[in-house]
């Protein structure tokens, strides 16, 4: 089924090393739309990534650093990148640890422009 976000998510998931891309509601941590490779638990990623993004956003605001634009978590076996804008929606990408995060970041910022 094609949704208004399909093309954007396809283009994110096409990036080398990307395992999943999702649009997530930041406030309730639920999946709005997703493009997942086999084995990815979209609901889990959505809930945890949204929570992490929200925490970073609120903490940065409390620390008077301004609004968070891009977030990247690096772990031993994977990376999570997220961008959010003015709306409640956050775009999340789960990628391999070795994925080119520079490219993913650019694609995410491009996707955010489309979303807004």
């Amino acid at each position: 089924m094609s949704t208004p976000f399909s093309e954007m998510l396809d283009s994110l998931t096409r990036q080398r090393g990307v395992r999943a891309s999702l649009i997530v509601s930041e406030s309730d941590g639920l999946v709005v739309d997703s493009n997942l490779r086999f084995g990815q638990d979209g609901e889990r990623v959505a809930a945890l990534a949204a929570s992490m993004y929200r925490k970073a956003r609120l903490s940065a605001r409390a620390a008077r650093l301004g609004a968070v634009a891009f977030l990247q978590l690096d772990a031993e076996r994977g990376r999570i990148c997220a961008v959010g804008g003015r709306s409640d929606l956050v775009i999340v990408v789960v990628a391999d640890a070795a994925a080119n995060v520079g490219l993913i970041r650019m694609e995410l910022l491009k996707a955010l422009e489309t979303l807004e």
Partner: protein, 171 residues
């Protein structure tokens, strides 16, 4: 967070759930409204009331689901301005329970739901295979205690017997 459970096997999974989901309150109850475990409540009477209302709400939602969708709903979510509530059934080998959790902006519906799934799995794994064999709980001569407590409850020295038509035991 303060956690109390009627049966010990419930405690660890429930504790993990409230920690992981950053829940403010949690209740595990029988569908009839009897509490199995609670986390975060400070007054026992509040627990009982919450259980009664949760059981009612769960039963209502289940019945509504059966009527409009042919099967009970998976879960129930209410959102207030500050706090939210999520409630769903949990099936174990010991039977079905209802779990109600209250959370605020430190958590989210998505988080609560994923950890709910984990709780379901952990409770299923932890549940003893069979019912414990219960010994008689009360002594046979419990009546004296009961009479004394009821009299105290109603502010009477002795349980009084009134005359007809005002409360005479008929048999």
């Amino acid at each position: 967070m303060n956690i109390a459970a009627v049966e010990a096997w419930v405690e660890a999974p429930l504790r993990r759930f409230v920690d992981d989901a950053r829940a403010r309150l949690a209740l595990l109850l029988h569908p009839s409204g009897q509490v199995m475990a609670q986390a975060g409540f400070t007054r026992e009477v509040d627990v009982m009331t919450a259980c009664a209302l949760a059981a009612a709400s769960h039963a209502t939602a289940g019945e509504l689901g059966r009527r409009v969708d042919g099967k009970p709903f998976r879960g129930l979510h209410y959102a207030g301005p500050d706090k939210q509530l999520y409630m769903a059934a949990i099936e174990t080998t010991r039977g079905a329970y209802v779990c109600l959790t209250v959370f605020d902006s430190a958590s989210s519906l998505g988080l609560v739901r994923i950890y709910f799934d984990d709780l379901q799995r952990e409770l299923s794994a932890a549940a003893p295979a069979s019912e414990p064999v219960a010994a008689p709980a009360l002594a046979v001569d419990f009546e004296a205690d009961l009479n004394r407590n009821l009299a105290a409850l109603f502010g009477r020295e002795e349980p009084s017997v009134t005359k007809r038509p005002g409360g005479v035991p008929l048999s």
